[in-house]
Symmetry: none
Subunit: 225 residues, 2 copies
Amino acid sequence: MAEVLVVDDDLTVREVVVSYLRAGGHDVQEAGDGEAAIRAMRAKRADLVVLDLMLPGLDGLEVCRQLRESSDVPIIMLTALGAETDRLVGLRLGADDYVTKPFSPRELALRVDSVLRRVGQRTPKGSTVTDGDLVVEPGEHTATLAGTPLVLTVREFDLLRFLVANPREVWSREALLREVWGWSFGDQSTVTVHVRRLREKVEADPRRPARLVTVWGVGYRWEPR
Amino acid sequence: MAEVLVVDDDLTVREVVVSYLRAGGHDVQEAGDGEAAIRAMRAKRADLVVLDLMLPGLDGLEVCRQLRESSDVPIIMLTALGAETDRLVGLRLGADDYVTKPFSPRELALRVDSVLRRVGQRTPKGSTVTDGDLVVEPGEHTATLAGTPLVLTVREFDLLRFLVANPREVWSREALLREVWGWSFGDQSTVTVHVRRLREKVEADPRRPARLVTVWGVGYRWEPR
DNA sequence: GCGAGTGGTCACACTCTCGTAAGGATTGGC
DNA sequence: GCCAATCCTTACGAGAGTGTGACCACTCGC
């Protein structure tokens, strides 16, 4: 499915994580410290890196920065519980997600899939998504409705693309925060507001949504034509 | 808050754990060995299982594996101190977390809450359920009758899905409160009212129910086509 | 710096849902 | 046919969930 690099100095953690990711259909490489991680990435680019923050030698933040210099591979950070500062710094340095220790390997595997899904969609060569008279072109970052172009902000565009690409399915605000925003935390009202703004531009009658539909008590769903 | 199944052969341990979890607002079932645990889960699926590794008869690992075959209920393992191997195997078999004995019951309660929080973020989208011209799609949160979509509220939807997924069987109001509402107490007339509302939307002639049938003095039953 | 555009947060109003209660209708036993 | 138990029906208010508008922080180009 994807090539994942797991970086942790604890052999036990590594084994568990690796076996889980393998079971999930991924190819996995391992590294026990920062230098090994950098070397591994030079030798063979992974599609995603799971990176412990506490490492002997080069620590996780440093590894993260160095990786970011030469690639924008998605990175999931493993941080100690409650290390709020680490988390913030990690995200700022370019981590795509973080998981606090002690974590469940099942949870980590889910996060890995989620991040890969999200990143896979932001590749420039992403394919055009359409629904009736609506056309979304990720490559050109444009969307047209019945031929007339829509003026969308980046977030609105991402949200629209995600929903149109995954129609009929109900997405909770929380899931949308994960899938579109790439957050595993945050205020859900953010989603509400963006949905409203998007409706204003996409729906014929924003007061009575026909395509971006509310599922009461659950979330939102894109109703295809 | 949640339905927790505690599996341990030591009565003392069980009592302490149970009283702590109850104090934390959870409903708790108990099992003294592996067979009882499996039976308990068959009869009534819990939201989380606390599972001792050392059990008479079926041991914890075996129970874990069997549970995993039919469900992805979160599992917290109780292991002896330093049994690194056990922990590894446990995690690999699908445990979500582990606590080493001797443990403080308070810590265990915290772990339980933590795992429930994490898992709660996941959207467990069940599989499609059908009965004749009726199709229930949990992922899309839609139900269609002969092709035309039904407009159902969350409760109505949950109730319908449960009944269609468990046809022919008679369900008491009490059982439905447990299974669909997740309550272990409450006013049974709640069920009555929701059954009526559901009939209004699902039955051809709500006055003469043909599919969601009343079993007098017992409860309700879904009569499949 | 300055202004325009974007994005996240908040408060408030509104809508929808759900549980409850109360009275009427049915059922089954006698 | 009568009575008690059970079930159906209806209406309503509390509370949760959602929509809306406004505000402020931030970024980026000029």
